[in-house]
């Protein structure tokens, strides 16, 4: 082979072919990627896929003998996957809340299912927030650890990456730690979101608030450049249709970072009356600070995922009067200190996880979600995967669970696949250092699916 002078023919022909292929594939992929998904057989959300037995959960295609895996003697083994190391390790505070609850529950005798008491054993695996690591973790939990169910696996993409696995293996993927609308996809009955408020409902609540407060307000929107931000944007657009409210400008930012300074500068220049922050993690306080620096003081709404002591604190003075939603009691609010549910939480988290910060909402979320899981187990007529999943899918008004708001009731049904539709609009006060409720509890049961972007719901 003569390397110094490759013959022209040998060099160019394969190259041309490769280039053609490349172009063809890119076009095919681009066309296919977003539009192909419309060939779904069952409409998502509102529609229901009822099993022949009249139940939501159909076990006819499940692997034989899979229904009772994960229960040995009086122990139920469940598994979770979440970031415990790496850049997103702060999420591991959820695990502290969960472990405190299960330790407390086990110490007080365990959970009673169909007349028998069981201890709950939670096996956690670290995925560093990396979806492919979640896949191998979950496969190992199902095949090696032989868990009964997956519980509160963190992250939207992480759960989407395992949805085919859990659905064909018939393993409950319960109380997913994400308020995304994708858990309403009726093709995947083995997945259920947790009590987190579905993102589109936040916009519903805020637009109602705005209509009463300033009916012809102009709005500026900051959104994460992903499905999360899309949920806020589309719900906001749907909600303001036919009102005098108007979106002046939308800016998106890279959700893997928290640098939103330039975006907010641009939005501030519109001098809009209201500012919606469809962002998450540190981008929320960054947006609040940029807003303050611009001397812009609109009515500000911030994603419910950002309601935590730390993120609100990081906004300094600029967090004052910011509006958001919560499905739970604020552990930082001294007014809740006398509430017996709060006292139970405080005592047990201090006892079992002394390093956890009890005032941190993310710990309270872990505690409450664990309590909800125990409640679902308790209500299940039998200790099988299908019975527990069926119970969760047709939950009839769970109240007083963990740090659930008083008057709130969490329900699902064959027609309603979303759990966290009872919530409270709240406003933060810097001088008090905690949030205060605005108005009364909002009950949006059954309203999520209609507000959800269909590309996400059925995609």
């Amino acid at each position: 082979m003569n390397l110094s002078r490759p013959s022209r023919r040998r060099g160019s022909n394969p190259l041309r072919l490769v280039t053609l292929l490349l172009v063809a594939v890119i076009i095919a992929a681009a066309c296919g990627s977003s539009r192909k998904s419309s060939t779904t057989t069952s409409g998502g959300g509102g529609g229901s896929t009822t099993a022949p037995s009249g139940k939501v959960i159909d076990t006819s295609a499940c692997p034989a003998g899979s229904d009772t895996v994960g229960v040995t003697g009086n122990t139920i083994t469940i598994g979770t996957s979440l970031p415990e190391s790496g850049l997103y390790a702060a999420f591991s505070a959820i695990l502290k809340g969960e472990k405190s609850y299960f330790d407390y529950l086990n110490a007080s005798g365990g959970v009673e299912v169909a007349g028998k008491k069981y201890q709950i054993k939670l096996v956690d695996k670290d995925d560093q927030y990396n979806a492919s690591q979640t896949v191998t973790n979950v496969q190992s939990l199902i095949d090696d650890t032989k868990v009964f169910a997956l519980f509160n696996v963190v992250g939207t993409k992480n759960n989407l990456a395992i949805r085919n696995t859990v659905n064909t293996r018939c393993v409950p993927d319960m109380l997913i730690a994400s308020g995304a609308v994708q858990w309403g996809n009726t093709k995947y009955p083995w997945m259920l979101g947790s009590e987190l408020v579905p993102y589109p409902l936040e916009m519903r609540a805020f637009v109602d608030y705005l209509k009463a407060k300033k009916p012809n307000a102009t709005i500026a929107l900051l959104k994460a450049a992903d499905d999360f931000g899309q949920s806020y944007e589309e719900a906001l657009k749907t909600m303001i249709a036919g009102t005098s409210l108007k979106i002046l400008q939308t800016q998106s930012y890279d959700p893997e970072g928290s640098n939103v300074q330039s975006q907010v500068t641009s939005l501030a220049a519109t001098k809009a009356d209201a500012f919606v922050i469809g962002a998450t993690l540190l981008a929320c306080p960054a947006a609040l600070n940029a807003e303050g620096a611009a001397g812009w003081h609109p009515i500000t709404y911030m994603s419910g995922t950002c309601v935590s002591k730390l993120l609100l604190g990081a906004g300094h003075q600029n967090s004052d009067k910011v509006i958001s939603v919560t499905p739970l009691l604020d552990p930082a609010d001294p007014n809740n200190a006398s509430n017996p549910a709060m006292q139970l939480y405080m005592t047990n988290v201090k006892r079992y996880q002394p390093t956890a910060d009890t005032a941190d909402g993310i710990v309270a979320y872990g505690w409450s979600t664990a309590a909800l899981f125990a409640e679902i187990l308790h209500r299940s007529p039998a200790l099988t995967r299908s019975a527990v999943m069926e119970t969760a899918r047709t939950l009839d008004g769970a109240t007083g669970v963990g740090l659930q708001l008083s008057g709130s009731s969490w329900s699902t049904s064959a027609k309603d696949w979303f759990l966290g539709e009872d919530f409270q609009l709240i406003q933060y006060s810097v001088s008090q250092g905690h949030t205060n409720p605005i108005g009364s509890l909002i009950d949006d049961s059954g309203k999520t699916a209609a507000l959800s972007p269909t590309s996400l719901l059925n995609g």
């Binding site: 190391s85 790496g86 850049l87 390790a89 702060a90 591991s92 505070a93 450049a225 800016q251 998106s252 930012y253 890279d254 970072g257 928290s258 640098n259 300074q261 330039s262 975006q263 500068t265 641009s266 220049a269 540190l282 306080p285 960054a286 609040l288 600070n289 303050g292 620096a293 611009a294 001397g295 730390l310 993120l311 604190g313 990081a314 906004g315 910060d357 941190d360």
Partner: protein
């Protein structure tokens, strides 16, 4: 117009942050010929030290000085313990060692100080002025001021002192320097020590000025742009790091404001710019031509 100027200020503020870390990269590169992937994480640890002291009620400036002193010693120790054993190995091995440190230091920081984000106070009052609707914040002024100060100090030390001369001599030719009686090992340690202390100062000022809180991701989001800045400016040029940092910062914020189609892939612009510059000048805008190590 005021919007344009405000975005320009935003870009300069961000650019100053990128540049200050890029300066530390350049310093290590000029004194030891190593591309230090762990530079950002070393600065992260130093910044957590600042938080540690302020959390124990030390005044911010004292905390920064303490953290700089500890980082100075730590930087020297890292050179002596981690880098020295492999300094004669292939450059690829050195890349792996700094990648090992990159992983280790981030994780050690989280284990020692906790994974939750921290509130790091500013060392000065965080004010904003709005002359003619142009937004000028104390943060931007301080960042630019510190950047200028860093450049001046580095210049004076490297170009105007015997010590600097020795450091530069070692960097360009270790064997002959050693024959001249320059303690080569000590000079290399000093290079790392200065870079670590510089990183501590940069982190302590840049994090509260540009981020709402200090977290394990604080430096990784900056480091990529600092690398870009150093590549753009030329990896062995102090001036290049500064100019490169400012160019990256300003293109970023102007792209966000004026090119809507790219708003979710803003990175395309600075990276495209770098590729273009490197194609025309393979050693960056201000780099000298002989840089062909690694």
């Amino acid at each position: 117009m005021s919007l344009f100027l405000t975005q320009l200020m935003n870009g300069i503020g961000n650019g100053a942050v990128y540049a200050s870390l890029a300066l530390a990269l350049v310093l290590i590169f000029r004194t030891t010929g190593i591309l230090n992937f762990a530079q950002g994480e070393m600065a992260l640890y130093s910044t957590y030290l600042v938080w540690f002291f302020t959390d124990r009620n030390f005044p911010v400036w004292i905390a920064i000085l303490l953290a700089m002193a500890i980082s100075f010693v730590g930087g020297a120790l890292i050179e002596r313990v981690v880098i020295r054993p492999v300094e004669k190995a292939s450059p690829l091995v050195l890349v792996i060692v700094t990648i090992g440190m990159f992983l280790a230091i981030n994780s050690i920081t989280q284990v020692q100080f906790g994974s939750d984000a921290k509130q790091l106070p500013r060392a000065y009052p965080g004010k904003t002025w709005l002359p003619g609707n142009v937004q000028i914040s104390a943060d931007t002024l301080v960042l630019v001021g510190v950047l200028v100060l860093e450049c001046v100090v580095l210049y004076l030390i490297l170009q105007r002192t015997k010590l600097g001369l020795a450091v530069r001599a070692v960097a360009s030719n270790p064997e002959s320097s050693s024959l001249l009686g320059i303690p080569v090992g000590t000079m290399l340690m000093l290079g790392w020590a200065f870079a670590a202390a510089l990183g501590a100062l940069a982190g302590a000022l840049a994090v509260p000025a540009s981020q709402p809180a200090l977290s394990a991701a604080s430096m990784q989001s900056i480091l990529v742009f600092s690398f870009a800045a150093a590549a753009l400016g030329g990896f062995d040029s102090t001036l290049g790091a500064v100019v490169g940092g400012l160019i990256v910062g300003v293109t970023q914020s102007l792209t966000t404001q004026y090119i809507h189609a790219l708003s979710d892939i803003v990175l395309v612009v600075p990276l495209g710019l770098i590729l273009l510059v490197l194609l025309i000048r393979p050693s960056g805008l201000f780099g000298s031509r002989r840089v062909e190590r690694v």
